[in-house]
């Protein structure tokens, strides 16, 4: 062992923790090396000092305080055990009540879900074809949608299907106000309040005609029910027969309506690039000129229908402040994820928090004029 090793071993040497051989070596070295002898002495003294420090006495209350806490712990444990092992007479009724409570709660929750949203159903237009594969059915619906200017058929529409059916946005050209509507008691479904839609007068007679023409399809309704993959809501079908319930349904769904998100819209498109159906294009472009700033959401809807998707303005980031919501009507979109500003065609309408349009922004739409300040201006 060299000098350094010995130094390092001095600590153990003092503790008698070295082997006999090591001890011999160290002691021999110490006889010759004054430095190491000094180091040993200092180390010994240090340990002496350390040992000389007296221990502090625990306060008199320490044991008692500890035991108080310990007893409390023990008490808690006992109580818990006892609770687990209550006599059966007490436990059984408790458990029965708990079970009952859970059952009742579950039932209430279930019944509080809007009955219409419980099931999904394809819209009536697709029912002329029976047992068609899903894709073909969708195709059929789209075709029908293009041919049939969207009449509103609340009694056939199942709201649960909304998010899948892109065409749905054209089901409600009218505002969702049921109060102004004449009831359906006369058997002929109306397109909704004709009064607040002065500009669409031309379109309406068409709608009425096709509505009447399509009505004979109604009897096939029950059979179409069977095709639905969702649990057949035959009860709902019968319930909808009453006109008043139809109205109520529309209100409900309107009230609970949340704007479709971009994601849902994208999902509803089967193939890209996407081209809006002619009817949609015709309707929006045809009535675009009548949209004006300050117009209310409902008015806009009555003119050009519901948007393809919507969102909160703040989501757009700067320079858009949290100034309300925006609606988008898409005419062409090349890709699902990335917007192609050069080629995509769409219409954006911004509504403030009181539901009034303050910016109408057509993009790549021929002949359409922007209305309202650009974002970030005048604020």
């Amino acid at each position: 062992m060299d000098h350094n090793d010995i130094r390092h071993k001095l600590s153990e040497y003092l503790d008698n923790a070295v082997t006999d051989d090591e001890r011999t070596t160290i002691e021999a070295h110490l006889l010759t090396c004054a430095a190491c002898a000094d180091a040993l002495r200092e180390l010994r003294q240090t340990i002496e000092h350390l040992r000389s420090v007296e221990e502090i006495e625990p306060p008199a209350w320490m044991t008692a305080k500890v035991m108080a806490q310990v007893r409390e712990e023990a008490e808690k444990k006992n109580r818990w055990f006892q609770w687990l092992f209550y006599p059966l007479a007490v436990k059984l009724p408790l458990q029965t009540m708990a079970l009952l409570f859970l059952t009742v709660s579950a039932y209430y929750i279930y019944t509080s879900i809007n009955p219409a949203e419980r099931y999904t159903e394809p819209p009536l237009e697709g029912r002329s074809e029976k047992e068609a594969p899903k894709a073909a059915r969708r195709e059929q619906e789209r075709r029908v949608a293009e041919q049939t200017p969207a009449p509103s058929r609340p009694f056939s529409q199942k709201p649960g299907y909304r998010s899948l059916d892109m065409k749905y946005s054209y089901e409600k050209p009218a505002s969702p106000e049921p109060a102004a509507q004449p009831p359906f008691a006369d058997g002929e479904p109306k397109a909704g309040p004709a009064a607040p839609a002065p500009g669409s007068g031309a379109a309406q007679p068409d709608r009425r005609k096709t509505e009447v023409a399509d009505r004979p399809q109604k009897p096939s309704y029950p059979t179409e029910e069977a095709r639905s993959s969702a649990p057949a809501p035959s009860a709902a079908a019968e319930g909808l027969a009453s006109a008043r319930e139809r109205t109520a349904l529309r209100t409900e769904e309107a009230n609970r309506q949340r704007e479709r998100s971009y994601v849902e819209f994208i999902r509803s498109i089967e193939a890209f690039p996407y081209e809006a159906p002619t009817e949609k294009r015709r309707r929006v472009m045809g009535n675009l000129g009548q949209l004006s700033l300050g117009m209310h959401e409902q008015h806009v809807t009555s003119l050009i229908g519901r948007p393809d998707y919507a969102g909160a303005s703040e989501r757009l980031g700067p320079p858009y402040a949290a100034e309300g919501i925006y609606w988008v009507y898409v005419f062409t979109q090349r890709q699902p994820k990335f917007e192609d500003p050069q080629n995509d065609q769409y219409l954006m309408i911004f509504f403030d928090n009181s539901g009034k349009a303050f910016r109408i922004h057509p993009h790549n739409l021929q002949g359409a004029q922007r209305k309202g300040d650009p974002p970030g201006a005048g604020r």
Partner: protein
């Protein structure tokens, strides 16, 4: 003669085994005896590691309570005292960490020495600062020693306290701190050297 560590620290040689077993069964008086027996040792360990009297009292109480809660899991693989000491050292170290964080947030001025609960002067652990050591010189040996121990890093504090202040055997220190024997020895060496240097400066000569 020295026994192998498993024997020394194992249940065969645990004088507390009967009491611990009784306490496990729910005998609270047995547990009280254990508390009374070890409270001084645990308090002092906590005091030397945390450097604060009040904190040490709390830590010691917490340690006993934790031991009571953990009794069910104490299978007697180690001695009861070893196990209890382990709990105490860990809690002391954790408390020390918290205290250090708290203190570091307070802007320190060298003219206003940090006082611990019992008026001890705590030197800045990072210092070889002469003014701090000057103040140490005014104290008696015990306070100087305490001051020098406080200047050590926590892991060095633990070994030197257990060895040179509580007279624990290497094997037991190994078991308490869960360190290999070699590590215990080297740490002890370095801790002692540090204290030695610190005391030399504080006392002029040893």
């Amino acid at each position: 003669m020295s026994y192998p560590s498993e024997v020394i620290n194992g249940p065969a040689m645990d004088p507390d085994a009967p009491l611990a077993a009784a306490a496990q069964q729910g005998d609270l008086d047995a547990f009280e005896s254990l508390v009374a027996k070890y409270q001084k040792r645990m308090l002092n360990i906590a005091y030397r590691i945390t450097g604060d009297h009040d904190e040490a009292c709390e830590v010691a109480q917490d340690a006993f309570l934790a031991a009571f809660r953990g009794l069910a899991g104490f299978r007697g693989e180690a001695r009861f005292s070893t196990w209890l000491t382990s709990i105490t050292v860990n809690r002391s170290r954790n408390r020390l960490k918290q205290l250090k964080v708290r203190r570091s947030r307070v802007p320190m001025s060298l003219d206003a020495p940090l006082r611990t609960g019992d008026g001890e002067l705590l030197p800045d652990p990072a210092s070889g600062n002469p003014s701090v050591l000057d103040r140490l010189e005014q104290r008696d040996v015990a306070s100087k020693v305490q001051g020098c121990i406080q200047a050590l890093e926590p892991e060095f504090r633990a070994v030197i306290v257990l060895r040179d202040m509580q007279d624990m055997a290497y094997e037991e220190i190994s078991a308490v701190l869960k360190l290999a024997a070699g590590t215990v020895k080297s740490r002890l060496f370095r801790a002692r050297e540090s204290v030695k240097e610190c005391l030399k400066k504080a006392m002029g000569r040893l």
